[in-house]
Structure formats: C-alpha cells, structure tokens
C-alpha cells in the first residue's frame, strides 16, 4: 500500500461536486462518495461552492469564467484544503485553466485579485486541483485497491473512455496521448479491458443538445468502435460523457439505424462495486441504457475469499 490510511484520512479531501453531479450526473456523486467511504477516505464538500464557469462561460467572457473559478479556489484554501477534488472534467479544466492563466498573465492576476477583493475575498492560488482518478492511482495506489477488493467481477469486457478535457490540455491526471490509469485501476479489481483507440476522442459535449445530428454521430462512433472491439460496456470519468453516451442511445438508433443498449458506467461505480458497495448507493439504478446487463452484472452479491 502506498500511503498509510490514517494519514490520508487525516488530511482528507475537500470535494467540489460541480453542477452536473447535482443533476444528470447524480450517480457519479453517489458512487464517488460510496467508493471513498469504502476506502476510509470520507470527502468533505466545499461549502457554498459556485459554478466553475466552464466552456460556455469562456465563449462569452473569459475573465468572468476565471472569476468564478477563482472564488472556488479561494474558498477551498480558506476552508483549509491543500487538495481540491474535482470529479467533473469540465470543472477540472476550468479550475486548472484559471490557475494557469493567473500564474502566467499578470494582467489576469490583477483583474482576478481586484474583483475578488470587491467581494471581500483574497486570491489563494496554491490549492492543488485533483481528479479522483489521479487520487486513486497515486495517493491510494493500485495495491490498496487490489487488497480491498471483495467481489469478483462477473461482467464482460469494458472499454475505458477518458474523453477530452481531463487529459488535455493539462497533463497531470494521465498522459495526453494514451492514458492508461483507468485500465490499470480496473484491472486491479479483475475487470477485463479492451484496447480502445477512441479513448480520448470528444463526445461532442453540449452539441448533443444544440446540434443533435452532429453530437449524436460522434457518440455513435464511440459506441460502435467499443462494440467492434468486443466491449460490452463503456466506463467513463466525466458526467457529460456519461450523459451523452447513456441518454441518447435511442436517438442514435433512430439516426444510424443501428441498435445499441450498452451500459455506460462511471469508473467509481465499477470500483465501488468491487469494494463492496450496493447497487443503489452506487447509483447503478440510474442508468438509462443497458439496464438489463447492469442488472445481470451487479445484482448478485458474492463476497469472494479466494480472490485476493
């Protein structure tokens, strides 16, 4: 085991859900909290957090996006965190980007500082932005995940899908070109993974809502290639990716004429289940697609001794 439990627990992680985890991505929050509880690392929610600014903000007013993220960063430091856990890829990117441009551009720094000052806040830019994937891989470590596994994987092969904003343009969570940490983590709990060339291709983000023909086609390609490679499910790290791939499979069928019913899981759901989490507390019942398969894979509780 990489780090000792008590040290990590004492340090703790401050957790920034972001807007999606309170809506369509609620299963992500449920499974994340469950997984970290099972690991003995309870998460503390950032008090009075606000929206990160995200993509849409940057296309209207980049400065404003930076202000929103800067408030989050400052609150995190005020609330005593060295690390801030941002599970949503868009939040992760927005926070990293703000941190980076404040650091790189004195004029951005000045604007942010002045604006925060008006709200009685000071810019505290030293918080480390972390993603659960990276925390599990580096802080908790593969051996610890392996040791804490209590259930044998009963499902089929999966494709690991990272999407875009988590691995680009900032490295830190994983390699930009060919990230592999999710595969490594899942293999620790016995999940077979396929080689998935599209693992960092974009799901189209909000295009599924705004320009659905295009957005659906992107998701069709992702589903089709996963199926071609023999994956029975796709595992994701981002609420928007999960939403797009999961919620639109019927529309994709209408568009492409090909039928898909593939479970789209969060990596926290798969790991949480292996560590003993329940179906409902992991939000597995919230899936739109592949519900039958999910039932088959996750329903029976079978603790394993021989496994470890």
């Amino acid at each position: 085991m990489k780090a000792d439990d008590s040290g990590l627990a004492a340090r703790g992680y401050l957790y920034y859900p972001g807007c999606s985890l309170r809506a369509t991505g609620v299963a992500y929050e449920e499974s994340l909290l469950t997984l970290f509880r099972l690991l003995g690392l309870p998460l503390r929610e950032l008090e009075d957090w606000n929206c990160c600014g995200a993509t849409s903000y940057m296309s209207i007013d980049e400065g404003a996006a930076a202000l929103l993220s800067a408030r989050v960063l400052s609150l995190a430091r005020q609330q005593g965190a060295e690390d801030l856990l941002a599970p949503c890829s868009a939040c992760y990117l927005a926070l990293r980007k703000t941190q980076d441009s404040v650091h790189r551009y004195p004029r951005v720094q000045q604007e942010v500082e002045e604006s925060l000052a008006r709200a009685g806040l000071t810019l505290l830019n030293s918080t480390r932005i972390r993603h659960p994937l990276e925390v599990l891989y580096t802080d908790v470590g593969l051996p610890a995940i392996h040791t804490k596994t209590v259930r044998r994987w009963r499902g089929g092969q999966v494709a690991c899908y990272y999407g875009c904003q988590l691995v680009r343009p900032y490295e830190g969570v994983d390699k930009a070109q060919n990230p592999t940490r999710m595969e490594e983590l899942l293999q620790q709990v016995g999940v077979p993974v396929v080689d998935y060339a599209l693992k960092t291709k974009c799901c189209g983000g909000s295009l599924t809502g705004t320009l659905s023909e295009v957005g659906l086609r992107l998701n069709y390609i992702l589903l089709k290639e996963a199926a071609r490679k023999g994956a029975e499910a796709i595992v994701t790290v981002c609420p928007l990716c999960q939403f797009n791939l999961d919620a639109y499979q019927r529309d994709i069928r209408q568009q492409s004429g090909e039928r898909f019913d593939i479970p789209i899981l969060y990596f926290t759901q798969v790991l949480g289940w292996a560590l003993g989490g329940g179906v409902r507390e992991l939000g597995l019942h919230r899936a739109v697609s592949g519900r039958n398969l999910i039932k088959r894979w996750f329903q029976a509780h079978e603790p394993v001794e021989a496994y470890v």
């Binding site: 929206c51 400065g63 929103l68 551009y105 009685g120 875009c164 680009r168 343009p169 919230r286």
Partner: protein, 194 residues
C-alpha cells in the same frame, strides 16, 4: 447551389492587420503567428468534417486579418473545446483559445445566425450563473430551447422522461448562499456583454 457569378476574390483592403494584433494579444492566442498550416488541427478535430472552414483555415483567416469570415464561419460554433488540436499542434498554437476568442467577439457583435442554439446556450448559462451562482441543467436547456428553437423540446421529451424516471432530472433551481460575493466580483464595468 451558389450563383455562378459569385465573386470569391479577397482584396487586400479587406484585411485588418490591427485586428490580428488584438487577437494575438489575448491570453493564449499569442502563437497564432507561428502557424505553419500543416493541418494537424483539422486532422485531429472530431468536428472538422462538419465545418465550413477547417480549423487550419480559420487560423489562416485570422493570420491574414479577414475578420468577417473568421467571425461568421460555422467552425467556431462547432468547436466543442476538446483541446485535441491544442494538444497536438506542432507549433503550440492554442487553437481552442483562438476559437474562444472568436466566439466571444462574434457574440459581442451579434455576428451569428438568429436563434442559433449554441450561442444562445452560452448566454443563458452565463446569465443563470450570474444570478444564482450555479447552473441548473433542466432550466438551462428549457430556456435555451425556448429562445432558439422550441421544437427542440419535442425531440427531448423522450430523453427527459427517461431521466426523470431515473431521478436524474432535477427541477430544483440551485443557488449559492453568498450570491452577493459573485455579484460583487462582477460589479466593475467589464468589456463583455451583460
């Protein structure tokens, strides 16, 4: 089909070199002059196949100062900000940032088709967060659709129903406690739209 008599020549009087300087002065857009027109951005972009100008051509338009084409092309709205081009560019041109800066300028000058859902979504998002500090997906999509194309709602009914059934459609309007902090942050006059 376009008229056979459409003139497509670009005259140098249309080029705005000062505008290029303004763009290159925006944080992240510094390296726009370094582009070698290799096309890696377009090759790696998952959406380039839908664009009227490939990302490489948009950078060329910017470099040459053809502002109108750069701001009115569909490309900038199709960009999903996946950063593949930026990560891949051999000259470290931050193409995604250039796209953002073009989107901002186009929105500022209303240089996009009326009722075009993508900028409408951005604006609704912007307003909601300024007002409440957080974004509530349901209300955002609802307002975006009403302002751009109400028929979108019809298409969404199925998905909406499935989400509601699985407890993923929250009708709650999220708001932070100290919203005045956000409002004060934004109090100073800003260049962007209000």
């Amino acid at each position: 089909m376009q008229a056979l008599t459409l003139r497509k020549m670009k005259f140098q009087r249309e080029a705005l070199p000062q505008w290029v300087e303004q763009i290159s002065d925006i944080p992240g857009c510094e390296r726009v002059y370094s582009c070698i027109q290799c096309g890696t951005c377009s090759g790696t972009c998952p959406l380039s196949i839908y664009m009227d100008f490939t990302p490489r051509r948009v950078i060329a338009l910017v470099r040459e100062g053809f502002r109108t084409e750069a701001l009115t092309c569909q490309t900038i709205w199709l960009c999903a900000s996946c950063y593949a081009c930026t990560a891949h560019c051999p000259q470290n041109v931050h193409i995604t940032e250039v796209m953002y800066s073009l989107k901002r300028e186009a929105i500022r000058h209303r240089m996009y088709p009326p009722r075009f859902p993508i900028p409408v979504l951005a604006q609704e998002f912007y307003k909601s967060v300024r007002r409440r500090g957080r974004n509530s997906e349901f209300w955002l999509v609802l307002r975006m659709a009403l302002r751009s194309n109400p028929f979108l709602l019809l298409k969404m009914i199925g998905t909406g129903w499935r989400l509601l059934r699985t407890g993923r459609l929250s009708l709650k309007r999220e708001k932070i406690e100290r919203i005045q902090e956000i409002q004060k942050e934004f109090a100073a006059p800003r260049e962007a739209i209000s």
